[in-house]
Symmetry: D2
Subunit: 340 residues, 4 copies
Amino acid sequence: MIVQMKKNVTKEELEKLQSYLKEKGLGIKDASSAEIVLFGILGDTKSLDPDQIKVFAGVENVTRISSPYKLASKAFRQEPTVITLKNGVKIGSDEFVVMAGPCSVESEEQLTIIAEAVKAAGSKILRGGVFKPRTSPYAFQGLGIEGLKMMRKVADKLDMAIVTELMGTEHLEEFVKYTDIIQIGARNMQNFDLLKAIGKYNVPVLLKRGLSNTIEEWLMSAEYIMASGNEQVILCERGIRTFEKYTRNTLDISAVLAVRELSHLPVIVDPSHAAGKWEMIESLSLASLAVGADGIIVEVHHDPERAFSDGPQSLKPKQFSAMMDKLEKLSTVLEKKIVR
Amino acid sequence: MIVQMKKNVTKEELEKLQSYLKEKGLGIKDASSAEIVLFGILGDTKSLDPDQIKVFAGVENVTRISSPYKLASKAFRQEPTVITLKNGVKIGSDEFVVMAGPCSVESEEQLTIIAEAVKAAGSKILRGGVFKPRTSPYAFQGLGIEGLKMMRKVADKLDMAIVTELMGTEHLEEFVKYTDIIQIGARNMQNFDLLKAIGKYNVPVLLKRGLSNTIEEWLMSAEYIMASGNEQVILCERGIRTFEKYTRNTLDISAVLAVRELSHLPVIVDPSHAAGKWEMIESLSLASLAVGADGIIVEVHHDPERAFSDGPQSLKPKQFSAMMDKLEKLSTVLEKKIVR
Amino acid sequence: MIVQMKKNVTKEELEKLQSYLKEKGLGIKDASSAEIVLFGILGDTKSLDPDQIKVFAGVENVTRISSPYKLASKAFRQEPTVITLKNGVKIGSDEFVVMAGPCSVESEEQLTIIAEAVKAAGSKILRGGVFKPRTSPYAFQGLGIEGLKMMRKVADKLDMAIVTELMGTEHLEEFVKYTDIIQIGARNMQNFDLLKAIGKYNVPVLLKRGLSNTIEEWLMSAEYIMASGNEQVILCERGIRTFEKYTRNTLDISAVLAVRELSHLPVIVDPSHAAGKWEMIESLSLASLAVGADGIIVEVHHDPERAFSDGPQSLKPKQFSAMMDKLEKLSTVLEKKIVR
Amino acid sequence: MIVQMKKNVTKEELEKLQSYLKEKGLGIKDASSAEIVLFGILGDTKSLDPDQIKVFAGVENVTRISSPYKLASKAFRQEPTVITLKNGVKIGSDEFVVMAGPCSVESEEQLTIIAEAVKAAGSKILRGGVFKPRTSPYAFQGLGIEGLKMMRKVADKLDMAIVTELMGTEHLEEFVKYTDIIQIGARNMQNFDLLKAIGKYNVPVLLKRGLSNTIEEWLMSAEYIMASGNEQVILCERGIRTFEKYTRNTLDISAVLAVRELSHLPVIVDPSHAAGKWEMIESLSLASLAVGADGIIVEVHHDPERAFSDGPQSLKPKQFSAMMDKLEKLSTVLEKKIVR
């Protein structure tokens, strides 16, 4: 961390701040010139808040020069993290992973129809919501634990893994028991109690980026899970909130590249929630593959008009299957491959 | 809700959608002309999702014409909701309420010093965090339930009410027992499990606006609490996330007026988190009073340099007291009054 | 346009508004029910401002049901617009067009080196700035008209077309004379005087999307040019301003799909300005091709360290050539082809 | 400027960059420690672009430690700039200045009615648009120079100053002749040609903040005008573009305080364009006075239903007069006074 003092800083002010830092076991490296009073802070500044330094009288500016996350960073691990599921799928490998299924689990019949369709098209991971974070208290809230057991049953028949969203700590143990990947939704990306709780289990976590969270905050949330002991984190870009309202959110496709630069964790894209329009899913999925993502998660429904949620952004099985064909074709000239 | 169909919509498409709506007990009012095929949906459309209608073939556009929240709306209650605390303070009345205290409760000594100072300056509600939502897992996470009991003890001595943030359902009963107002933080505004849980208790709730949540979503979160049975909701504007980084967030002062227009619930402003700079707090507090807010919540610390969190945005007791003088003076020519 | 009146609207208020509309030659189609007072406005509402209707007493809400742009819309022309340059390049065809060159034209020598390199790699359109919109008045402002003539000379030798930014009307005629495509920069997207002026010439225009402009506003700016008589508009998505600061801007890749849905005009992507980091250009270009854009415009410099502007986002000739190879390979399995 | 090098930087890389800087006449101050390679750049770094330094191999990060604007900064001038108009009004003084009038000048009759009303209520500066930047080419574009002459005539009769928007350089001389303050609109805040042109005249300029421009960019645009010789710049905060759509824009009231901290230039608020709703104008004006702005600019129309533009955000004369009463009352307990 570099601290720039105001031009008119007094000797007392400078000493007060430097004493405070020394008390914390940190070192000081002066870098002042005729024009400016400046010093670096030496040692482990991970738990030091730059904003807190600014409170001291005479401070002009404080600049962090190392990332506030460690375990999630490339400095900690150079080679990419690969997460292997029980059914053998490897996320973060040279396979482009496609997770697919309905927004909400509605019934065993509905889930079976969709699961069979996406499996037939080549998906090995079934998505589906059983606890639904809905903006309105009057909207369908999900089938709960019964839905979760239903997912497990249907997925087992098809040798599929499952990914589903956990909204609170109450059902954590059941989720660990029944799911392969626990999803933390965008609205809970900074639900720190939930992150800490999930960090105590050795279970793959799909961590969605919050609607208005920076890439750094997203990696800090991964750090919460990892610092609690669980290093199996998969990041998921799902669109951010901007002034543009034509799409539901704005897919930040560059975030995939940013994560690649900053972290060793796998990163996938959710084009369904990003766009909110099924017409855009195929093209955005192709772009996600081309940009180098480790996979996608997409919503599929055999009867979108009667879906309990997210109908407008769901592909029909035929559309999904056609998309898989195109992804496979595209992947032939790229590093990540579609394996069906 | 008004549904506009595409120009080339077929009779079958139109009938399919209208049958679906009739099945749900809704009525249809045709409004087509030579140029356009259009109809209104009659009946209780509260649980109908406009996006879901768009899934039907032939639909061009769907427009909601009534608000998706009911209990939080002015249509439900015309007169302002006034929330009375045990120590007699009335939020939403003609008193401009000032909640003040440290960001984090650090020790009984620290809390006592600050509480006595803000009480002396005229505040009757003590703020302070005991569970802290921190971006970094390596930062101070709060004193927990011990801190809560400490707050109660200190507040009782001074006949102050307390407001503090609850981060998860685990400690809800203890919060109901020890606090006067339970705060739901910005990052948890759409933690729907928490909203539903808190809705089952008859306790005042301070609901902060999420960093990137619209006013409508904010009122929908209030609706979650109210629909569960608890109508004592106080809204708190605390700055939204924008492209501008000079301030920590961008205070959306117009949101106070929007809430006044749309809802009967009281609304206060948190200038500390909005600006993130103590130098701006006084002026933003004066603006909040002038614009018609029901109060403010501000951070005060006797030794900001050594505060465990949010030092840069904390006022010192003397600054707070000077600000109270100015607020009092300003309030003499306004409707809302400072009562010290 | 659909007008919803307040529940308590008076007969007089309703009549006042409807008379106003009839005076303007518009028709009224009542669509009221027991629950709501509602009517549609019939006729050409293109120049009617929905906000203006809201001024009338008793109006609750006004909804536009047709797009405010006409000439730029698919309703006006179904088949894609293809723009043919003098050197034969067709923008909007099945060729994926790559425009490349330095951010700023610095000297004939510099431009020649770069132009020869991008030509050799397969680019047929040379980009380069001669009037530079710089945030700081102390930064390099461009070589001006001399630079423009230099571009023409260098491009002619290589049979390349040129694209360069025009900042004001003063030099419009010279631009029409010397350039093949006139670029309107993001900061001038709503410089309506400039749009109208350029609309009077029959010259291809590259219209960049403004930093914080919606897709609708972007198409309205295209409409300005087209309504003045010039229909040769190429749209260019170059990143929008959001809260995320890791990249210079946030590339809104979905905007390419939105333009495809709404308009017949060709649309290209500028990954250089979107990301601001040369490391991301290749991947974002591949994504742009995969998503279905008509081309890209990228910055190339042989000595980025000494570039007068935008060094950090410039590819070196070797990197550009490698990228062209990858684009060509990818295009073999897509509809749009790289033609070198 | 502080430059942090990568851990694995080579001696050659370091020397290459430092030679480049020395060539430019800048000095180097090493500040490296065992953990980090770091140096400061000494001398006039005003025209040095931090991004350009990042292009050099081995650079990790570059931090600017002085503001990129000079003339607009407090470092250049400590005392507030006061701008005196011909009719004696002093902007930036202890008078809270109220500019008022119609959005568009529509006719001499309309303008006279409104000008007389706002003058009677206490305004001394008449606003009105004669060249209108409209999103749609089909909307009313203003009366042009005839409207300008009309404004002058009406204002002279009432001893009022006038402020009106200039959209391009074509009519600059006529504007200098006929107006007291030339407004640069939000969409032209970075029309650098226009800024440079206006900088050559000694005329007060009202520089609106762009829809998505940072405070720093806004001050850089002021710097453009000042660096060309004209130091009479008044800044105007008019709302920024965010995800929230309830208001037309989001009034960034903290920006007033930021400008106070960073600059000596006067700053006013435009609540009409910020909110886009006349119901909010009064409260936002009171807040602007309370926060310490130097004035406001508001839209007034005697017949908003038939206004050619911006009807929804226009106050009627009676409402304006009532607001002036409240502002005057509020100003009695504040430093800035309403002088009627």
